[in-house]
């Protein structure tokens, strides 16, 4: 064999030995579509979930104006699991700011009195301490948006969510008398103005219509404590189950489908999850995605 051939064979042999190792690292470098983190401390669980998704820098660029949209809908203190866990919200706010976000806005359009909801949920205080700009929704900043969906033609939506660079949806998992469960899709009711009682007819179609217009960068499902009965208002701590789970995903349909399993249901059982899947907003067969499960 001449020198050229020897070098060629050695190179190929070396590559052959290295290749599976390279592929593995390469595979590990592709971030997952969903992370399901489980542990005792909500701050650690949330942080771990985001880190496993590739870190907040995967989603937030320097100078971004981010909206972190929790559920602050109800006048309930955190142990009733009617609103998003304030620690989860604060952790997300902090991570966004550390990733270089210029501003992180936190708001919701609640059902009960907004002043009480913001204070009693603990979210306003926790988010503010983490550096967020917490504000009440201003009635004048709802603008009619042409939705042109299946059931909704137009609806007033909050301008801050339409103008944000990045949106992080952070709902809490609860039961609901009409939709069976309230997860990520239902959380968009908090950016809707107008008389929301009218949404209750063909609610699944209407939620999917709104979801077509709002594209979250990331959905983080708070399942640290879930409300298993009496939702969405809650009011009995005996209906609260502690799971210690935070699930993060780039696929809003998938994370809601996963959320359904926490209540013994599947994505197909939830009207808007099925419709969202059919509309192409994501997949309810979340097991087919690249999922990472972590227990702390």
């Amino acid at each position: 064999m001449n020198r050229r051939e020897f070098l060629k064979i050695t190179a190929m042999a070396g590559a052959g030995v290295m290749l599976p190792y390279e592929l593995q690292t390469l595979a590990a470098a592709i971030p997952p579509d969903m992370v399901i983190a489980h542990g005792a401390l909500p701050q650690k669980v949330t942080q771990t979930a985001i880190e496993a998704m590739g870190g907040m820098k995967r989603f937030i660029n320097k100078g971004d104006i981010v909206v972190v949209k929790p559920n602050i809908g109800w006048d309930r203190t955190p142990e009733y699991a009617a609103n998003t866990n304030p620690v989860v919200v604060a952790t997300l706010v902090r991570l966004c700011l550390e990733a270089g976000a210029k501003k992180v806005k936190v708001f919701d359009n609640p059902v009960n009195d907004a002043r009480r909801c913001y204070v009693q949920s603990g979210i306003a205080d926790a988010a503010r301490r983490a550096g967020a700009e917490v504000s009440f929704t201003d009635e004048r900043r709802f603008k009619d948006v042409a939705i042109n969906g299946q059931a909704l033609k137009t609806w007033p939506l909050y301008t801050d969510i339409l103008e944000a660079d990045k949106i992080i949806n952070v709902p809490i998992a609860k039961t609901h008398g009409l939709t069976k469960l309230t997860l990520g899709f239902k959380n968009w009711m908090g950016v809707m103005g107008g008389r929301r009682g009218r949404i209750h007819f063909s609610i699944d179609e209407k939620l999917v219509d709104v979801a077509r217009v709002i594209k979250p960068t990331l959905t983080v499902l708070d399942a640290v404590h879930i409300l298993t009965a009496g939702g969405p208002q809650g009011g009995d701590v005996r209906d609260v189950k502690t799971l210690g789970i935070v699930a993060a995903s780039i696929d809003p349909v998938a994370v809601d489908a996963f959320g359904a399993t926490l209540f013994g249901l599947t994505g197909g059982d939830i009207g808007y999850v099925k419709l969202g899947h059919e509309a192409g907003l994501g997949t309810m067969d979340f097991q087919k995605l690249k999922i990472k499960k972590i227990t702390i």
Binding site: V119, L178, P232
Partner: protein, 520 residues
Amino acid sequence: MRAARFFDSILKLKTSNLKLSFLRKASQAFFLLLFLFLFIQTQSKGFDTLGYPVRVFLDFDPLILATTFLAGHAVPKAMLLALATIVLTVLLGRVFCGWICPLGTLHNLVGAVPVRRKAVSAGLYRLKYYLLIVILAGSLFGLEVSGIFDPISIVIRSLTLSLYPLFNRVLMAVLAGADAVGGAGFTAGVYENLRGGVLAFNPPYYLQSAFIGLIFLAILLANLIQKRFWCRYFCPLGALLGILSRFSILGIKVSEGCTACGACAAHCQADAITDGGQGRKSSECLICFDCDDPCPSSAVGYGRLSRRAPLNLSRRGVVTSLASGVLLAPFLRLSPPVSNPLLIRPPGALPEPEFLKHCVKCGECMKVCLTGGLQPTLLEAGLEGVWTPRLVPRIGYCEYNCTLCGQVCPTGAIKRLTRAEKVEVVIGLATIDKSRCLPHSHARACIACQEVCPTSPKAVWLEEAAVKNHDGATVRLNQPHIDLQRCIGCGICEKVCPVSDRPAIYVTSLGESRSPDNQL
């Protein structure tokens, strides 16, 4: 004796170097601003308590103390502060009227408008004493009407129901105008800072708003007829303090240097000057010191009073007032004793007869109500109960965890409750009008009522049903029902019902826990 003379000399203030009328104006400004500050603070910031003593002006009001005691037979401890006002008046004269009362300050502001003022009948000052007698006599028989005429109550009620909403509307329009010029969101920062403070958190709307505003405007505009028109001729609190000041230890007095030129009389706000300038009627004098400046002999001072001008009420007037007060109570209660379904009282309200004996119609509860649901009655509680609070769920429901109305009520007409007590109080019951309800009659899924019901377990329970829609297809949906044992009548269901003009679920007063009769 030496102590008395020492006391005397300190108080015989020579008014040439010390502008007492200026001090008085400064005091009036301070108390008006304090009053407005406390008024603004009478709103929720999201916490369980307010953190500010917003009702303190009412707590110091001796007229409210007197009628609450006579009609209700019990007074909240805080109201004993009113004894301080009585002591102050017995010592110093009607300084409350001249230096403290916020309505008095507003009178002064309007009264400063330079117009030719007509003379008013010299005896009209007696009217306020007759009115006071009517009010006190009536309260002996359980009638509580002092709040309609009490100046503190009038200002709080008028500001709450009319002026503050007007102010909000105007300011919001100004901001909208600025937005139109400067671009959308131009005033967002300003609005966010003012909102929940100077600007109401939610735009306030009240029934009878214009009517109450007009009454208040009339009271203020009367100052164009005579300065301090209300104070001189109508104010029952002024009358009460006037009776006390008849015997006040100190007051405005005129020294021997007075030449009876009468220059002071033209400036007197209260028409209290007698004997060509040499005398003062201590029951009418507001201690404003406006008589001081124009006096060419600097004869006006402040010190121990010796001469007492009589009140001069006619015996006929007194007897008529007494009789009117006594008869007024039964006269106003002639209506049939059937409960009004629209009369949903705030949680913590006393049973209706006691409630009417305590409520002074001050409007504090309506101001503080988170959702704006507490509204003034017109005739729903009878004539006796005009302007008392009732819940109108279509305007605002009763927030489950909130206890603010009981915290601000000065007389205990609405008891102060803990949250645990409050959520057990039933103020009414919800009823479903099936013919209007979407899932019951129109094959449309809804249950917004069940979703928002705050009790645990929910007072709205769902029954799965199969109904036919207009295409003849079968639709499976949930239909709501009320659990009468669990419903507390908060009205959030009525508020969110999408059949918004005449809600398919609505609350009436039936079942209110404070009433032994109004039960199923």
